[in-house]
Symmetry: C2
């Protein structure tokens, strides 16, 4: 028997966006019910315990400057932050050569000197010139309407790969841009529209902000893990307002109400509400059965926003041994397979944790290999960066996000070429009683936890205003 439920607002997805929307609506005196496919809340945020009450995050984890809404939420919930460990020198392996250096994001004489053991000064200047050019272009993209950028059609008609080929003159400079693309979008430069890269760069306060640790998007971490934000919100909302294990299969929205059909068999529910907020990645939102069907522009938008590809891995050691060698634990390697590595140890530095990202084509390739072979290759890569001890962890944790039924990729959905200019208008625009949330819908910090929070706040405001007007 299908359980019949009533709410003011039905929310699809108990990630940050959906929970923030529910929290706001509840605070405004409305009755929201969040329906979540998984048996847990958090969406792309997920803590994993590594013993002694400590956790690593196998999903999104960082918070940085200008991410004001997630910061405010953490404050409200009493979740404190601590700095990402970044003291010491970073490591780079390029073309078989290893070097350490004191900072990555800016071209300074000492950085040139240090890095030039692995990358030619010409390549570094090449990289920096392209970085500056990209930032200048990004500032011309209106965040609310990227399709109104002066050169929108030109930029949306080409891939980022095309731009990189034409604007970087050195092979190493191109490789660095490829590494950045993988690190920021979990995608290859070929996968994504130049206009999307520009929009996203501006949305995240600029190139150095996106890639930076101190002063950038990777600056700080949450005590107890980022998923705590979702867990605490869900706890405060209560089990009646957050229904787990209920994949939404169908949304009827033709009449004066919406009805969500969710769950299977004995767990099936039908949730009637005045409005709905769909707070899941666009590619998955497109798989729900809508009655009436959605306008073509919206449907085809969701056909054009594929997820990126990432495998997030944690190698766990008795201690962060690299720190004693004056290394930050941050590493970059052209061979990978984890091409970007961070020190992800708990705040007290025990145990030591090296976080390795396999992204874009590396994630795609290695996801199809046996787990033992993948682990061995990743650890061999860590050893190239941090020495042989890195090959002998005491534990190893990984998460292949494309294998997750209710995500099917990470970090988020990208815009393919032509997407923004032809379909961008359908990204946030409500359709009758349906509203669209999620990190992919944010104008500021699109794709980040902060963007997810902002989208939850925006849709709660939209719905609140609409309900009041009725």
């Amino acid at each position: 028997m299908t359980e019949q439920l009533e709410a003011d607002v039905a929310i699809v997805g108990a990630g940050l966006a959906g929970l923030v929307a529910a929290r706001r609506l509840a605070a405004a005196g409305l009755h929201p019910v969040v329906v979540e496919a998984r048996e847990r809340v958090g969406g792309r945020l997920l803590n994993e315990e590594i013993g002694e009450g400590k956790v690593v995050e196998v999903g999104g984890q960082w918070i940085g400057p200008t991410q004001e809404r997630i910061a405010a939420l953490a404050d409200e919930l009493g979740v404190a932050t601590f700095p990402t460990f970044a003291a010491g020198r970073d490591v780079m392996v390029m073309d078989g050569k290893r070097t350490t250096y004191s900072e990555f994001a800016r071209v300074r004489p000492e950085l040139l000197r240090d890095l030039s053991r692995a990358v030619s000064p010409l390549a570094l200047i090449d990289f920096e010139q392209a970085r500056a050019r990209l930032d200048r272009m990004a500032r011309q993209v209106p965040l609310e309407a990227p399709w109104e950028a002066p050169k929108a059609r030109l930029w949306d008609g080409q891939t980022f790969a095309t731009w990189v080929r034409r604007n970087l003159r050195t092979a190493a400079g191109r490789t660095l841009f490829e590494l950045v693309t993988e690190a920021v979008w979990a995608a290859e430069p070929a996968d994504v529209s130049l206009l999307h890269v520009l929009f996203y760069t501006r949305s995240g306060s600029g190139f150095n902000s996106l890639v930076g640790t101190e002063g950038g998007a990777q600056q700080d971490r949450f005590h107890g893990g980022s998923q705590r934000l979702a867990l605490l919100m869900a706890e405060q909302l209560g089990g009646e307002r957050v229904r787990l294990g209920c994949p939404v299969r169908r949304i009827e929205h033709g009449g004066g109400r919406v009805v969500l059909q969710a769950g299977d068999g004995e767990g099936a529910i039908a949730l009637r509400a005045r409005r709905a907020i769909v707070a899941i990645p666009p590619t998955l939102a497109g798989r729900i059965d809508y009655d009436p069907i959605l306008p073509a522009l919206r449907d085809q938008l969701t056909q054009r926003m594929p997820q990126g590809s990432v495998i997030k891995t944690m190698a766990i050691y008795d201690e962060p041994f690299w720190r004693r060698e004056g290394l930050s634990g941050q590493g970059t390697s052209d061979v990978g397979p984890a091409r970007v590595v961070f020190d992800n140890s708990p705040p007290d530095g025990s145990p030591g944790v090296l976080l390795g990202f396999l992204e874009g084509r590396f994630a795609r390739h290695w996801a199809t290999r046996p787990a033992a072979e993948r682990r061995q290759a990743i650890l061999a890569g860590h050893a190239r960066l941090f020495g042989p001890r890195a090959a002998e962890p005491t534990g190893f944790v990984e998460r292949i996000w494309a294998d997750e039924e209710w995500t099917r990729g990470c970090y988020g959905c990208l815009m393919t070429t032509g997407g923004w200019t032809e379909y961008g208008r359908a990204l946030r625009e409500p359709i009758g009683r349906l509203h669209w949330a999620g990190a992919e819908t944010a104008t500021v910090w699109n794709g980040y936890m902060d963007g997810a929070v902002r989208s939850g706040e925006r849709t709660a405001a939209e719905v609140g205003a609409a309900v009041e007007a009725e």
Copy 2:
């Protein structure tokens, strides 16, 4: 109550691919059941009656040289063809200038002379040089494995728009390439990977074959309309083997059998079979709920194959008045909104029918306008090509394929950049007991009716061999 059905092979989709597969399997002594979401068969083939037993096709309609499998099928079914009307001069409107000319596909002195009233000879030479270059590149793409082309990554990393910008020097040459892209893919050059364009060009026997009428993909038509092929196959299979109005929502394929859950409420069925053939467009195949979920590579492939956009329109006149003026009824216009026009009159030339295609961004824009406004704009475009009589049809028929729940675009799914090289391997490869058919999976005449037929034949052979081996 859910009706329980048994079959040897369950087939999703009663388009050409699914019906051909069923027909083949039945001929081999197996029991197939086709489950179709719509209340009709034919998928993207659809006849519409225009009186006196005559029809126009608002979906796929043409057959041309080297399309051997659809030709063989038509022979088997006793469906005859007739030539597309192409006698007389074509019309072109470019930059506000109108001209008529005797052939489009090749650069010949008299064509240069004729067309140069609307397009400069320089632009025509520019176009022809680019056409030749494209054909040369296309011949380097292996149809079974486009990702193995020598320059696969380079070509898959750029849009067709990028290639057109860099390889055509005249504005008019670029416009002509844009028109061709819309006509062949119902997409803009920005929407599609260069590698896909090259693959598709080779798959369809070359550029001139794709765009041509005589000697090309638009050469002939079917008496009684192309949908007859599907209708006749369904009739021969019988109602027990073709279940209409049953959208497949879920496919369980983990055990020694597959189970399709389809239909809703009183029409719900559960179909158990040894194997399943999914014969619907990839983007829609990705929306089915699979248990177990599909491998990441397959799922992410379906996130990256969006449908094109087309509105197919027919303006009906007492007679094909243009023929008396020595015109073929074929027209091309840079302003459109129907930028490509054909004489689509029944074989006896009565009534007169002008077929107008709105494609790519023209389809997207005009689909959101009121029907009367759209019709008026289309007829005004026809009048620019064929004179004021074209503005006064006795009837008007249109089909917006992106508004169709069980297609959500047309002509077919495209590969976005990066798609072939990173995901192409997952396009046809069976996953356990699941096989993949549909025009998008064809190596020869991909995207065409002929490709659909070939994919049905291929999957029937795959399934036949697998069943025999069990």
